[in-house]
């Protein structure tokens, strides 16, 4: 059994069928890139994996456990729980403007810790007392992540005081805070000026590690080639072709893949 198993994901909005049966596997430590032209359902697929959309058909299993099946109903509470294991970095960052870089990263950590204390039925005052120490630990941990994305000197800046590239790196740090098993990126650099994409792509490359699996929707073909182990080419709500980076970028015989990649040839 693979680390992440996505099976037969369908999604429709009203009459519009966007995903028509998506299957793939991903192992721990692997990076998967999803490429394809605009409007093909790449974002929708990521949103289904993150439960921002609920797939109409299909199942998702993580680490040997079924975490989602379209046949079942999930309460908000259950969805909240599984969301801890899967992170998402948005195209438009979506940082919380009223929080500093550091606070953006600690927020989810603090909330999670507090939820856990509540579940153990620890009383209000006792909880506030315990949270004091936990918050201190969370700050130290958040600092270490911000250091990893090269922003240790910007931890007290508000998003409005940061460049686009720095904001996206804070967003990556925030997504990493809960130690997700799967981290998804939806065109992480397409809202950035060209001269700022490099710093973000470098950070993503450095995140590659045996602990985490990453799924990256991107139009940066050079980057996809460098960072990915696997590539999916999507067309019309389906996986048109899937394979190793070499298979897709060097050896593909599929006319649609070739036509798409042809658009990016310099």
């Amino acid at each position: 059994m693979a680390f992440l198993e996505v099976r037969n994901i369908h999604k429709q909005f009203g009459d519009l069928v966007v995903l028509k049966g998506i299957d793939f596997d991903l192992e721990r430590g692997e990076v998967l890139s999803i490429i394809g032209s605009s409007g093909n359902g790449k974002t929708t697929l990521l949103r289904c994996i993150n439960f921002l959309e609920i797939a109409s058909v299909g199942t998702i299993a993580l680490d040997g456990e079924e975490i989602f099946s379209a046949d079942k109903k999930y309460t908000d509470k259950e969805l909240t729980k599984i969301q801890h294991d899967i992170g998402l970095v948005f195209q438009s960052f979506n940082l919380f403007p009223q929080y500093t870089a550091l606070q953006n990263v600690t927020l989810a950590l603090d909330v999670k810790a507090e939820n856990e204390l509540k579940e153990q039925k620890i009383g209000y005052f006792q909880r506030k007392k315990l949270m004091k120490d936990i918050k201190k630990e969370n700050i130290e941990y958040a600092k270490s992540i911000l250091d990893k994305v090269g922003l240790i000197d910007k931890i007290d800046y508000y998003p409005c005081q940061l460049s686009g590239g720095q904001q996206q790196r804070v967003a990556i740090a925030r997504a990493l805070s809960l130690k997700p098993k799967i981290l998804c990126f939806d065109e992480p650099t397409s809202a950035l000026d060209p001269e700022l994409t490099g710093e973000v792509l470098r950070v993503i490359k450095e995140l590659k590690s045996p602990e985490i699996a990453m799924i990256i929707v991107t139009h940066e073909m050079k980057f996809a080639k460098e960072v990915s182990d696997k590539v999916i080419f999507m067309a019309d709500g389906l996986i048109e072709e899937m394979g190793t980076t070499e298979q897709i970028f060097e050896k593909s015989q599929n006319p649609k893949t070739l036509a798409f990649l042809g658009n990016f040839a310099e």
Binding site: N50, F51, L52, D76, K77, L79, T80, K81, Q83, H84, I86, G87, L88, F90, S92, N94, L95, F96, P97, Q98, L107, A108, V111, K112, Y158, P159, C160, R174, A175, S177, L178
Partner: protein, 215 residues
């Protein structure tokens, strides 16, 4: 009638004005938030009822509503007594202002980009936490200006209470007029101006407090 006596009597009326103002705010702010959530509900019938209600309240004069709350129940049902005057005015004011506030809240909440709550969701925050820790402050920042407008209007709307003989400041001044003393009526303006001045400074302070970040 000397200046000091008039000043003190007007002040007594102004205390009633302030009570009406304060109590209206106290109840209409939370009620407005509840109405705003009703108007944004995904449950269509609830949404329709709330929107119709807001339309009726915003579409009719506040003075009429005050009269309706005071005389209405007794006219409609035999054997029902009238509410105390002050309570009747307060009920009408709370309902009226809650509806106006609800529209400001709704506008403020709907203006927050969807990405904010989605970012909260993928971080495992529940709906309540998303609202309280992410959305609320951003909404407050957005609505300070329209809210201060509405709240300043409320200061002056309190003078409508006199239609059912609640002796707020303007009613006191009017009673002087009946006795042939005109100037106290204009003197009331000073009370309003000072109070609105204090509120303006307060809102300016809140706005400044919230300017530590930009969207």
């Amino acid at each position: 009638m000397d200046f000091l006596t008039v000043t003190l009597q007007l002040l007594e009326g102004f205390v009633t004005t302030l009570e009406l103002f304060g109590l209206t705010l106290l109840f209409s702010l939370p009620l407005g938030l509840i109405i705003a959530f009703g108007a944004m509900s995904k449950f269509k019938p609830l949404k329709a009822v709330v929107k119709t209600f807001v339309w009726i309240i915003r579409g009719t004069p506040l003075m009429l509503q005050v009269i309706a709350v005071y005389y209405g129940p007794a006219l409609l049902f035999e054997g029902i007594g009238m509410l105390p005057r002050f309570i009747a005015v307060m009920v009408a004011f709370v309902i009226n202002y809650a509806c106006y506030f609800s529209e400001i809240f709704r506008g403020g909440i709907e203006a927050i980009p969807k990405g904010q709550s989605e970012a909260g969701r993928v971080l495992g925050l529940n709906k309540f936490q998303i609202f309280s820790k992410i959305i609320l402050l951003q909404v407050i920042k957005r609505i300070v200006a329209p809210m201060s407008n509405e709240i300043i209007t409320l200061v002056k709307d309190t003078s409508l209470a006199r239609v059912i003989v609640v002796t707020e400041i303007l009613k006191v001044a009017q009673d002087f007029t009946a006795k042939g003393l005109i100037w106290p009526l204009f003197y009331t303006a000073i009370y309003y101006l000072i109070f609105v001045g204090v509120l303006t400074i307060l809102f300016g302070f809140i706005e400044k407090k919230l300017s530590f970040y930009k969207e």
